[in-house]
Symmetry: C2
Subunit: 274 residues, 2 copies
């Protein structure tokens, strides 16, 4: 449970029953790591939220994290939900309706630092992702596919599940993005048909990989690419870069490039560059 | 706004901020016409809800309409939302978590009787539906595609928008199902990839069409079928059978078969058979 919740800037533990996030998943969310009272990668989170609001036609609130500003002490996680403002029953919305804003503060989540993490195991999920370019890349509230995929495992030793789209292309993890190292090249799935474009994925593409001497190619990655991968890693704005040591129990031999990227990210954070 | 709202059986105007319907659209809904205090086609609504709960792995509440039983006077609309019970942050759910239940009562909605309605105009929507067999047919809470499609028109003279999937097949209306009459045959889109399997669609297939001497074929209907259609009609559990007189301004000549089905449905309701 969150320690504090706000609805439209006011302390509240609930949202109106006619909220369109509840009715239709008509909104977006962000989950933001807070380190030493400072939201990490905030401009990237706000960029994605702004883009999402533009594409869904929702009015982006001016300063959605304001209510939490004097409450965030130490480390924690902020969850922000923006929904289209309430309307009557039915899908139609009104141009002039503002947005509704739910903000939750979860303190003391354990270590959030980008310290290099140990390799993890993943599975491949049976649940596929539908191809819907209108929603691709956004962190919107229509997440039943992820809920169904996450129900495919209970073993706490599994860090995430890899997801493929209905054409069999690799897309992302249930709650992470995925990169492949193959023949010294860095590849990540193009997210123009489905998937969430994570903020750490963006940081790796734009800054971490280049600083370590790599360029990342966004590509269509058929499932068979997994068998040819030298290395595989996940990215998550809360968990950092996670080297994958096993897929469905099959071991991946090395994490050399991945570890270089982990060290690069850690150094950037230590120097205050992220 | 609804006149009355209940959360898990208790009067309430709000739902907890950690509700999974809000967080992920992790649930289902039904919109039920109430005529003379009696929910119409209730067994069909509950059948669809039960199937949805099974497919999503949500515990179906025992008697979800109970709180409204002594409140429903005259005519109105009941909206019922069932979500997976609240969990912590993250997609994972717990087996033992019960469901949460939001019930809203909207009285005096205007005429709900299945009296034959006048022909209507529709448009074809640009927004496509993604193909996702795991969710096809269900009235789940992930409805951003419908929200985006519904934003394509404001003209109140447009009764609904026709939607196609990403392969170009006809699926349904934004808030209705669709039937085609072609060469004396009745066709409706198969809903195994996307779309909501409406309760009036089921009634027409199982009882109204047979009683009027027709069988309905569920088929893949390419967009071009619209040009060959002699008649087109929509079905909605609130609005009944709606003959379509124009698609994107192009007139459809006859509504003969449709009107026969409208009369059949009206007769069944008058005799208390639905």
């Amino acid at each position: 449970m969150p320690a504090r919740t706000w609805f439209n800037g006011q302390p509240a533990n609930s949202v109106p029953a006619d909220n369109r996030g509840l009715a239709y998943g008509d909104g977006l969310f962000e989950t933001i790591a807070v380190i030493d009272s400072r939201p990490r990668l905030l401009s990237y989170h706000l960029d994605r939220l702004t883009l999402g609001c533009q594409r869904l036609g929702i009015a982006m609130p001016a300063d959605p994290l304001a209510p939490a500003r004097h409450v965030m002490a130490g480390d924690g996680v902020l969850k922000l939900i923006i929904t289209r403002g309430a309307t009557g029953r039915g899908y139609a919305s009104h141009d002039q309706a503002g947005a509704d804003c739910v903000l939750q503060w979860f303190p003391d989540p354990g270590s959030l630092a980008f310290t290099p993490a140990a390799p993890v195991a993943v599975i491949t999920c049976r649940q596929r992702l539908a191809r819907q370019p209108a929603l691709a890349g956004l962190k919107h509230l229509n997440r039943l596919e992820q809920v169904l995929a996450r129900a495919e495992w209970r073993d706490p030793a599994i860090a995430d599940g890899l997801m493929f789209d209905t054409d069999g292309l690799l897309v992302d993890g249930v709650s992470s993005n995925v990169f492949i190292v193959s023949g010294g090249h860095l590849l990540t799935p193009r997210l123009d048909q489905c998937g969430v474009a994570g903020v750490l994925r963006r940081l790796v593409i734009e800054r971490v990989a280049p600083a370590a001497g790599f360029t990342v190619q966004e590509a269509e990655l058929p499932a068979a690419m997994l068998d040819q991968a030298d290395e595989l890693f996940l990215t998550s704005s809360l968990r950092g870069i996670l080297p994958v040591a096993a897929i469905d129990g099959r071991a991946l031999a090395t994490q050399q490039v991945t570890q270089r990227l982990q060290r690069q990210l850690c150094e950037m954070e230590t120097l205050g560059h992220v």
